[in-house]
C-alpha cells in the first residue's frame, strides 16, 4: 500500500516536472514557430502565384516579398491572394484560392492559382498532406501538379468542376489520376470541386 502511494507520488512529480519543462519550451519557441509557419504559407502562395523570389530567402525576407507583391482580398466568402506583376515582367495577373479537405490519412491543404478570368488554372500546390508516399503522396509531385496548368475549372458547357480520372479521353477540365491512389484522387477532386463551386458562384 505504502509502495503504491510512493509510486503514484513519484509519477505525479515526474509528470509535473516534465510537463512544466515542455510548457516552458513550447511557450518560449512559439513566436518563432508561428513566424516559420507564416513564412511557409507565404512561400507556398508565392510559389503557386509564380512570384519570383530567391530560393534561400529567410522567413523575414519571404514575409516582406509577400507583403510587397501580394494583396489579400475577399471574394464573397473566399479569401483570395492576388498578384499583379510589374508591367514590364510580362507575367499575368494571378489569384490564389486556398482549399482544404480530408485526404486518405489526414487533412490535405493547398492553393489553386487562377488566371485573371478566374477560370484558367495557373498552378496548384499542396502545402500539407500525409498521403501514402509514392502513391497518394504523388499529388505533391511536379508531374501531377503541372498537369493542372492551363486546365479550366469549368467543363465545355460551363458547369463548374474538375475531373481527376484515369479514364480515356481529353477534356479541358480533366487531369490524369495517379494509379494506385484512387482514394486520394477522389478526395482531392472533391475538395477542389467544393472550392471551385464557390469560386464560380462568387464570380459569375
Amino acid at each position: 500500500m505504502k509502495n503504491n502511494v510512493y509510486t503514484l507520488f513519484y509519477a505525479g512529480v515526474l509528470g509535473t516536472v516534465c510537463s512544466l519543462l515542455l510548457t516552458a519550451a513550447a511557450s518560449f519557441t512559439k513566436p518563432y514557430q508561428q513566424a516559420n509557419a507564416k513564412a511557409e504559407k507565404n512561400r507556398n502562395i508565392l510559389g503557386v502565384l509564380k512570384v519570383p523570389y530567391q530560393p534561400g530567402a529567410s522567413s523575414q525576407e519571404l514575409v516582406k516579398i509577400f507583403e510587397d507583391n501580394v494583396r489579400q482580398e475577399k471574394l464573397g466568402e473566399l479569401d483570395i491572394y492576388r498578384y499583379v506583376p510589374p508591367q514590364d515582367s510580362g507575367a499575368d495577373e494571378t489569384a490564389a484560392v486556398s482549399f482544404e479537405g480530408p485526404g486518405l490519412w489526414g487533412p490535405v491543404k493547398g492553393f489553386l492559382a487562377l488566371g485573371k478570368d478566374m477560370r484558367t488554372i495557373r498552378g496548384i500546390t499542396f502545402y500539407e498532406q500525409e498521403e501514402t508516399p509514392g502513391l497518394g503522396g504523388e499529388i505533391a509531385a511536379d508531374w501531377f501538379r503541372e498537369q493542372f496548368v492551363g486546365k479550366s475549372i469549368v467543363d465545355a458547357a460551363g458547369n463548374p468542376g474538375i475531373i481527376i480520372s484515369s479514364s480515356e479521353g481529353e477534356a479541358p477540365n480533366k487531369v490524369d489520376a495517379i494509379s494506385g491512389a484512387t482514394m486520394t484522387c477522389d478526395k482531392v477532386q472533391a475538395m477542389l470541386n467544393e472550392a471551385i463551386k464557390s469560386i464560380v458562384q462568387e464570380k459569375q
Binding site: T7, Y10, A11, C18, Q33, N36, A39, E40
Partner: protein, 221 residues
Amino acid sequence: MADNKQMACMTCEPKGLCGGKGLLTLKEGAWANNPLAIQVLGICSALAVTNRLENSLVMGAALIFVCVGSNLLVSLLRKVTPYRFRMIAEVAIIATFVILFDQFLRAFYWDMSKQLGPYVGLIITNCIVMGRAEAFALQNPPMLAIVDGLANGLGYAVVLAIIGFSRELLGSGEILGHKVLSAQWYTPNQLMILAPGAFFALGIVIGIFNWLKGPEPQEKK
C-alpha cells in the same frame, strides 16, 4: 583470458570520477559496442534520414543530446525511482528531451525540421536511448552515465555521418549541398538517395566495422 585481462585493467584503473572507467565507457559505446554498427540498433532512423550529410549530422546531434540528457536524469533518479515504474519514467524522460529538441528545431531550423519530418519525434522509440537508460544509467553514477550517453550518441552520429556522406556524395555528387563531383564526368547514382542505397551503405559500414574490430573472443576458439 581476454576477460581476465580486462578485469585486471578495471581494478588497476584510477578511481577518479571519470578516470579510466570513463575512457573505457567511451570506447565501449562509440567503438567496441557501437549501437548501430555492432549492435545494429536504431537502424530505422539511420536508413531514413541519411540521404544528405546535413540531415545525418542534425539527427546525430539530436541523439547525442537525448542520450546524454536522459542518461543523466535516469541516473540521478536511479535511487528514488520505484523499480516497477522505471520504464515509464525512462520513456517520460526521453520523450521530454526529444520534444525539447524538436521544438528547438521547429523554431530555429525550420527547413531542417521539415526534412527530418517525423524522425525527430521517433527518437522516443529509438532502442539505443531506452537501451542505454535501462542497461547503463540505472546502475551507474551520473558522470559515468553522461559519458555513456555521449559515447553511444557519438557512435550513432559517426556512423550516420559516414552513411550520409557517402550517400550524398554518390547520390547527388554533393557534400553539404556543394557540388564536388563534376557533372561532366560523374553521373549521380540516384539509387544511393533512395531507400535501397541506405541499405547498401549501412550494410557496408557494418561490414567494415566488424572486419576492423575482428571476431568476438568466443568465436575465436
